[in-house]
């Protein structure tokens, strides 16, 4: 039985005080370590909200999130920051690289935020860059790369602290077909080689089909949570219903 990495219990999110907008209705699910899941839904369905809540970037209005055994309900901003740094790597639609820093420095950043000296991190950062086919670009400025390269640097950065979970929000939204395919292949490779769990938000059903598990969100509610039989042979054994 795989270890539970994320436990979301009845999490909901309502924005506004005078005029309330419910972005997410009581959603519950668990994610095991090493699992590769996708979250699919229309624009505005609440999938990014769900990802932000799981990534401790936002706080749920209702319910609770347990991350790596830590109940985050009463966690302070400082504790949430530490949990993000320890457990989670983020890949966003926009690469969000720091233009003031080189490729290598960008990749090193999560480690340095975690308080590890740069010298101790360089080896791992170079490994990450090699894994993503970015050798030789270490000293380049982040702004001097192509869109695909930037997104791969963002992935290398997300993996810096060897997180148990990578949360990716439309990670290929700004990429062409070739780079999109490359990014998903990389995700699968990292998932298999490093055992990193992935939750990938996408509105593209064909992309979602590459995950072992698909969570479909509609109007802020979890419509279905299914094991993706089509992702075989990589699909993991999971006690989930077959796709409808």
């Amino acid at each position: 039985m795989a270890e539970t990495l994320v436990g979301a219990e009845n999490i909901g999110k309502t924005y506004g005080t005078a005029v309330k907008t419910v972005a997410l209705h009581e959603v519950s699910f668990t994610l095991d370590a090493g699992e590769f899941a996708s979250v699919i839904g229309q624009s505005g369905s609440g999938k990014s909200t769900l990802l932000n809540l799981v990534g401790l970037l936002d706080t749920p209005t209702t319910g609770r999130i347990v991350l790596g055994g830590h109940d985050t309900t009463a966690a302070t901003r400082k504790q949430r920051s530490a949990l993000r740094n320890d457990f989670i790597g983020f890949v966003f639609q926009f690469h969000y690289l720091l233009p003031e820093f080189t490729v290598l420095e960008n990749v090193l950043m999560p480690g340095r935020i975690g308080g590890v000296a740069q010298a101790e991190l360089v080896g791992r950062a170079e490994e990450n860059l090699a894994l993503l086919g970015l050798e030789g670009l270490e000293k380049k400025n982040a702004n001097d790369l192509s869109g695909g390269q930037k997104q791969r640097v963002a992935i290398a950065r997300a993996l810096m602290n060897r997180p148990a979970l990578v949360l990716a929000d439309e990670p290929t939204g700004n990429l062409d077909t070739v780079n999109t395919k490359m990014v998903y292949e990389l995700f699968r490779t990292i998932n298999e080689e490093l055992g990193t769990a992935f939750v990938v938000v996408t509105h593209d059903r064909s992309v979602a089909q590459q995950a072992d598990r698909i969570l479909e969100i509609s109007d802020g509610a979890l419509l279905q949570d299914v094991r993706n039989a089509y992702a075989a042979p990589r699909a993991r054994e999971a006690d989930l219903p077959a796709p409808a």
């Binding site: 970037l57 920051s81 530490a82 740094n85 003031e100 935020i113």
Partner: protein, 383 residues
């Protein structure tokens, strides 16, 4: 020190903005150093010109015209005050210079030249003749000499307080830098003055003294008044005799402080607004750093470090600029008699530097607070 390294990188990647902020601080501190030193030196020069070569403390008899007996106890009491640098007993009388139909009042001070020099620096201010004060010698001021055509070696006829005439020989002409002093002051031999006044060898008109810090004269005078050795004697000091000058100096200091204060306020507002703009410009970077786990305090420190770097570099350049301005002012005025030398005070320069750094750091508090409060979700949702 991740915050420091990020702060330094942010500054390096926006060189024009960084240089402009540092230049703002530099100008402010430069003005502060120059203006502060200028006013201080001007005041020192004014004080020096006014009372530098005159007694700052005078001990006299309670009754006008009566002599003071200069005993060893009195001498000891005065010299025991640590601020007192010079004690000179003098004998002074009024006389009238007479030459043909021309008359002019003269205040004649008698004493030994060596002692008189310690207060009046007559030898150092001599413009003609020799600095000697023999029994029938007289040293006169430049304006007096010019008005009456008196040259060294000439006979100077004085009508004494008794109405009797006395013939003295002008041995030298001094310049005290003041027409009033140069016209009406003259120096004679102490014994000659004693004879004129009918004083014995230990009797004097006054005991003059100078103090190290001229503004300590009140305290020294108070201490002397309470000394039993000076019982029955009157102690006066320059500050109570020059209230107008002190008030002018105080007003000058106040205006200087006001100017310096508003310059610093302008500098602080400039830094605060530029750093606030910088904080807005870097919102995305700060947001993503926070998403990656950077803590609020760590992110807030980025702008504190920026302010510190800008403050230290700006204030250092400002101090150097201020000192360069002082050097330029001194160079331009090297041959001018109307300009006075500006002497930068080390303490004041260091204080200006520290104030510059503090103003920069304080100005960064608002952007730092804003940065530390930033929620990463604001950036992530904003795209």
């Amino acid at each position: 020190m991740l915050s420091l390294s990020i702060a330094a990188r942010f500054l390096r990647k926006s060189p024009i903005q960084s240089i402009l902020i540092a230049a703002g601080i530099a100008v402010g501190i430069g003005v502060q150093v120059f203006l502060g030193s200028l006013i201080t030196s001007l005041q020192t020069s004014l004080v020096d010109q006014t009372i530098g070569n005159s007694p700052q403390l005078v001990v006299q008899s309670q009754q006008d015209g009566q002599p003071v007996t200069y005993t060893s106890q009195v001498e000891q009491a005065m010299k025991s005050q640590s601020q007192v640098t010079t004690v000179v007993p003098t004998r002074a009388y009024s006389g009238i210079y007479r030459s043909g139909t021309q008359n002019a009042p003269l205040q004649l001070t008698g004493g030994s030249l060596g002692q008189l020099d310690t207060i009046y620096d007559i030898s150092g201010r001599l413009v003609a003749g020799k600095a000697t004060l023999g029994s029938s010698d007289i040293l006169v001021g430049k304006d007096f000499a010019n008005t009456f055509g008196v040259k060294p070696g000439d006979q100077v006829s004085i009508v004494l307080p008794s109405g009797k005439p006395a013939a003295l020989t002008a041995t030298g002409v001094f310049d005290f830098g003041s027409a009033a002093a140069n016209s009406a002051t003259a120096f004679v031999n102490g014994d000659q003055a004693a004879t004129v006044l009918g004083y014995s060898s230990d009797q004097y008109s006054a005991i003059d003294a100078q103090v190290q810090d001229v503004f300590s004269s009140k305290q020294v005078a108070d201490a002397l008044r309470s000394d039993s050795a000076l019982n029955g004697l009157k102690v006066t000091e320059w500050q109570s005799q020059n209230a107008d000058l002190l008030s002018a100096l105080q007003s000058q200091s106040s205006s200087s402080y006001m100017i310096q204060f508003f310059v610093l306020v302008a500098v602080a507002l400039g830094i605060a607004s530029t750093l606030a703009i910088s904080a807005v410009q870097k919102t995305r970077q700060i947001g993503i750093l926070k998403a990656m786990g950077m803590k609020d305090r760590q992110s807030g420190r980025i702008f504190l470090w920026q302010a510190l770097i800008l403050g230290v570099s700006g204030a250092a350049v400002g101090v150097l600029g201020g000192l360069a301005l002082i050097a330029l002012f001194t160079y331009l005025g090297r041959n001018s008699t109307s300009l006075f030398p500006i002497t930068p005070q080390v303490g004041f320069v260091v204080l200006s530097f520290v104030v510059g750094v503090l103003v920069a750091v304080l100005s960064s508090l608002i952007p730092s607070r804003r940065t530390s409060k930033l929620d990463p979700i604001e950036v992530i949702q904003g795209g």
